[in-house]
Symmetry: C2
Subunit: 317 residues, 2 copies
């Protein structure tokens, strides 16, 4: 039995945000219902960067994403983050496919944030503010556009050229490149920076705002002033992982926040175990660290589409 | 930059036991000298089987092996164990190759046992006894033949047909299919069974024997009566992993053995921090659980050989 080899271009051609959002939402539901399995990530930490092994299984799907973070790569003309995913049959362990997961990672991060916004943002949200105009910002906008009628995209980046580049990449939307304060005054706010000290202050945040805190995904990273968390309804993708490496990790380490203050997981809200937003004036925060069930859900989507399409396959094992 | 795709046949054609033994011994040395990194395996446990993510790095090499164990596979005509390895540049994280690691796993397990025998068996060892004649038994014999003058290979298996098949696969050696007791009366003994209760009893073991205990690689598995361990010089590949899933795991769980009774790691002996066998009458045991540095060392060997040879490559990421 051959293994499909799905390269970057092939995967890019198959990624569809509508389908991705549906698959990721279902994955959180399955996982919350005990139909998914996800052990903790394994970190391989080296001098120039690190690697993470992210295994997970969902009904009919299993696999591992192997993703690196090498901050000095741009100087060498390489992306900071590259990911490969091995996709297996959970019944036999057979490796059905090996695929690029760099774009899967970007799509699922955008999709998950948009799903969080669906349950946590005000229904009448029409403006999205993006803090940090790097690679992840684009999929944040594209995913939210699937679920919201976006009338304005506000973009802030320390580097104006990055903000301009992002604006040019979404010509279908009305965009405004603006100061941090102005971008923060949006219905939905997505923070996608590599910050290690708070960028967003409490004074920036209006009542009723929903924040997707995406950037913090490792120990020591944080984007929000801890006081922003204190009065807010905080939802996490995975409590254990968020406490260790998400937006709440630094405030917890400093004794300014405790995991017990977290309102819920995203899965519990999707499953209806807990309500999402009920108060139009509440500040809600989704602390996204990225979980492997998201990647495996999309890998299944891609494999199911690719398997009958004559893609490159080899007798790998 | 393209990623090499090295399928089963390609990898098989490149595996050379002499080179594998040399690379694995160097890997243990590097790891013991602090030049390697190996986090704990991540286990994904499902109903029909399990998967393990095994990341590691050595000088100039990094990657992860993703390997399944699905015991019911033979009924479906599939191997129980299949492995894929993603091999990366540690400096940039770039995935240089994706390769079959099923045969790498068998080769490195044999190689590591033979290296252990080199330091722990009597120099004048000429007979090898193999308990369990499955897939791993073949590479045990081949690896030991590199380092010892094997005058007799004794084979025991509960299934005589398996023993006969193994004997036929090594026609270059004098073999004898025999009872457990007779196979156990060998200079070097390799236990390669899936046993969950002791197969080898204290009464089977003569003074001066070296045992490579290979089979136990998960909680609840054991091949040796705990009393065999008590009087012996026990060496492990990795103390943390052996205590959890190696030959010593069940005796430790039952309070019959403690990790402090372990004499040494294999790496410490190779590095000369501790002597190997000094007493010709001692019973020595190498408790092999299998560590990812072994796989990465061989992956480097294969990649370095393959990269200039025009193998299949794709723009994977």
């Amino acid at each position: 039995m051959p293994t499909l080899i799905l390269d970057k271009k092939t995967v890019q051609g198959m990624l569809n945000m509508t389908a991705v959002i549906k698959a990721v939402e279902q994955a959180f539901l399955d996982w919350t219902d005990g139909k998914g399995t996800m052990p903790a990530k394994a970190y391989l930490v080296l001098q120039e960067g690190d690697f993470r092994a992210m295994p997970a299984a969902l009904p009919g799907a299993a696999g591992v994403k192997w993703v690196n973070v090498h901050p000095k790569n741009p100087r060498r003309g390489l992306p900071t983050v590259m990911a490969v995913l091995i996709y297996n049959d959970p019944e036999t362990g057979y490796p059905l496919a090996v695929m690029d997961a760099t774009d899967i990672t970007a799509f699922r991060t955008g999709a998950t944030a948009a799903i969080a916004s669906k349950y946590l943002a005000r229904r009448d949200s029409h403006t999205i503010g993006v803090i940090g105009a790097g690679r992840q910002a684009y999929t944040q906008i594209m995913a939210h556009a699937e679920l919201f009628d976006l009338q304005m995209v506000k973009i802030y980046d320390m580097a104006p050229s990055a903000a301009e580049k992002l604006a040019r990449s979404v010509p279908q939307f009305k965009t405004r490149i603006c100061r941090l304060e102005e971008a923060a005054a949006s219905d939905i706010l997505c923070t996608v920076t590599p910050a290690r000290a708070p960028v967003l202050k409490k004074s920036h945040i209006r009542p009723g705002t929903h924040i997707n805190a995406i950037g913090a995904d490792a120990e020591g990273k944080e984007e929000l002033e801890p006081s922003v968390l204190k009065g807010a309804m905080v939802v996490v993708d995975d409590l254990r992982q968020a406490s260790k490496s998400g937006e709440i990790n630094v405030p917890i380490a400093k004794g300014l926040y405790t995991p017990s203050e977290v309102y819920s997981t995203l899965g519990e809200i999707i499953a209806g175990h807990k309500p999402g937003r009920t108060d139009p004036n509440a500040v809600t925060i989704f602390d996204s660290t990225g979980v492997a069930i998201e990647d495996i859900a999309i890998a299944k989507l891609i494999y199911d589409k690719a398997k009958n399409d004559g893609h490159l396959s080899v007798d790998l094992v």
